[in-house]
């Protein structure tokens, strides 16, 4: 019996746990430590059979990456896994304060579920804003980011000011690293407000959907020209960033692109607009059928295939611009590349396992209600509080973090429990969204086989891995995440 066992041990052993995907004549193999390798089909078969010998040209590299059972560096691989998944130890770092539901824009896709200008009781009071800040600082995370959103947050300047001052004082006392960010359409920006924001080191982000006609078609502003205000203030903050003062840091402004059906086919014009505005990042975000966009999906929505084409055309064009010396990165690709190339967590809460709902972020509604995330808050706006995790005035921090909705989101977005995801080659870099699943497929778990978001992510990962195979592209893409 003992002899039999010993004999078994000398037989070739198969690889340790790995994930794989066939791509033409090759296979992409990945593992939970975030390593990847491309193998020819016959080499992949050898690896699976445990017959890939030490003299094989791919052996050493595969051994370094944890694909050879007899050469596993447990300490190194464990450290890699721990650093890649460090967010499991930290708690929520992103705190989104919805200062008002009111907005002076009526964007076609408005995901923030904004209320009209005349809406009553849609503003957060300064006292509630301070309570929200206090709540955020209860997170064990050593780094706290407070993002001011709306509606249009500049419509509630008093609460914004109160929250900024309170948060800065609180961070000093608590010794936490505090980042403040404002997401605004700029239509109500004044030099006085801009000065306050710069002095308190609030970073600025806006929406820029492309050239004037496209931007204004998506982002309807009855009180004026949305595009003109956006570009004007982008230039203002760019200029201030370029001429820093010793008293405080002025951050480079950034912008978000939301792709509507009207954007499809216009990727070059949109990207050129970003370059013209001096922006170095473009975040190409697909529409999600959540909130207001859900009702207008037939008019402004599209399927994963259509977005995939737009996205890939955009990436190709950005790389072309990069080759000619233009500095521009696509944000989603950058975050995914950071995971793939550096095995680092870029803080992209939508592509984590489990997702960032509650354990990575909290959304604070104007009335102090707490949600797992901003998307969960939008579902709440439709009258369904499935993602509500408490109220800032009523519920203690620990109760909120262990609430039913928080637990349900953590469990359902755990890729180890998702049938398709658990064996997907992109699992080490990906994440699912319970809110998206709930809104589009009727359950927190969703069904990845027919899930458009999954199709979109798979398409993006496929494109990035294919680009990384070409040395000229690889050098540029690695440079995007070289910091």
């Amino acid at each position: 019996m003992a002899l039999k066992k010993a004999a078994k041990r000398t037989e070739p052993s198969g690889p340790p746990q790995l994930l794989w995907r066939r791509e033409g004549a090759e296979c992409l193999v990945t593992n939970d430590f975030g390593h990847y390798a491309w193998l020819k089909r016959k080499d992949f078969d050898l690896l699976l059979a445990g017959k890939l010998g030490e003299k094989h040209p791919a052996y050493a590299a595969l051994a370094d990456k944890g694909f050879i059972r007899d050469r596993l560096d447990f300490d190194g691989l464990t450290a890699k896994w721990r650093s890649k998944n460090a967010y499991l130890n930290t708690g929520p770092g992103l705190h989104i304060l919805v200062l008002t539901l009111r907005c002076n824009h009526k964007c076609l896709y408005c995901q923030s579920s904004a209320a009209g200008m005349g809406s009553r009781d849609a503003d957060m009071s300064p006292a509630t804003a301070k309570k929200c800040v206090d709540f955020a600082f209860q997170s064990p995370n050593p780094g706290i980011t407070i993002e001011f959103q709306g509606g249009e947050p500049l419509l509630n300047w008093e609460a914004l000011k109160a929250a900024v001052l309170h948060a800065r004082a609180k961070a000093k006392k608590a010794g936490k690293d505090l980042r403040l960010a404002l997401v605004s359409n700029f239509s109500l920006m004044t030099e006085e407000k801009a000065q306050f924001l710069m002095e308190h080191e609030v970073s600025i982000c806006t929406s820029l959907d492309g050239p004037a006609d496209l931007h204004n078609r998506n982002r309807v502003f009855c009180g004026g020209n949305s595009y003109a205000a956006t570009v004007k203030w982008l230039k203002f903050f760019q200029a201030r960033h370029a001429h820093q003062v010793p008293e405080y840091r002025v951050f480079k402004p950034s912008a978000l692109l939301t792709v509507s059906r009207y954007s499809l086919g216009r990727h070059k014009e949109i990207i050129d607009e970003y370059v013209k505005a001096g922006l170095e990042d473009i975040f190409i975000r697909p529409l999600a059928p959540i909130g207001f966009a859900k009702n207008l999906w037939g008019q402004i929505g599209y399927d994963a295939k259509a977005f995939g084409k737009f996205y890939l055309d955009s990436l190709d064009y950005i790389l072309k611009l990069n080759r000619s010396g233009v500095k521009l990165r696509e944000k989603m690709a950058s975050m995914m590349l950071d995971k793939i190339v550096n095995s680092r967590d870029p803080g992209y809460l939508d592509a984590r396992c489990p997702c960032g709902a509650a354990i990575g972020q909290v959304a604070y509604n104007y009335n102090g209600d707490l949600y797992t995330c901003d998307e969960g808050r939008m579902v709440g706006w439709e009258g369904d509080d499935a993602f509500k995790i408490g109220n800032v005035r009523r519920d203690p921090y620990r109760k909120v973090m262990t609430s039913g909705a928080a637990r349900a989101c953590v469990l359902s977005s755990n890729l180890e429990s998702q049938p398709d995801c658990a064996r997907c080659a992109y699992k080490p870099y990906c994440g699912v969204c319970p809110v998206y699943n709930y809104e589009t497929q009727g359950s927190l778990w969703g069904d990845m086989a027919v899930n458009d978001r999954c199709g979109l992510f798979k398409g993006t990962f496929g494109a990035l891995f294919a680009m990384l195979k070409k040395p000229a592209n690889e050098a540029i893409l690695r440079n995007w995440v070289a910091k």
Partner: protein
């Protein structure tokens, strides 16, 4: 009002568990009332008050999805549970403490 089953289908008990069928019924509760009855080596599934556009095939896709998830849980629940517990306890500020 007497509700007459519109569709009645058989689900092989070798593939589908009652739990998977029930979970799928819950997911589709806004589209149809699902009645599940045990049969010989199978379950008899019928639908009532179906919403426009409801298709029984969609229900069975979901049932299969749920069944795959239940099967996966048997293999992965330990690792999945550790990850979820770690994330929740850390977020609650209780990491390292005894529960």
């Amino acid at each position: 009002m007497k509700k007459t089953p519109v569709n009645s289908l058989t689900a092989d008990a070798v593939i589908y568990s009652a739990e998977a069928l029930r979970l799928a019924a819950f997911v589709f509760s806004d589209k149809a009332e699902t009645v599940i009855k045990p049969g010989k080596g199978c379950f008899l599934v019928s639908f009532r008050n179906e919403a426009p556009g409801f298709h029984p095939g969609d229900y069975f896709n979901e049932a299969l999805n749920q069944q795959c998830r239940l099967d996966l849980a048997k293999k992965n629940s330990k690792a999945a549970g550790m990850i979820a517990t770690k994330a929740l306890l850390s977020a609650a500020g209780e990491a390292g403490r005894k529960a």
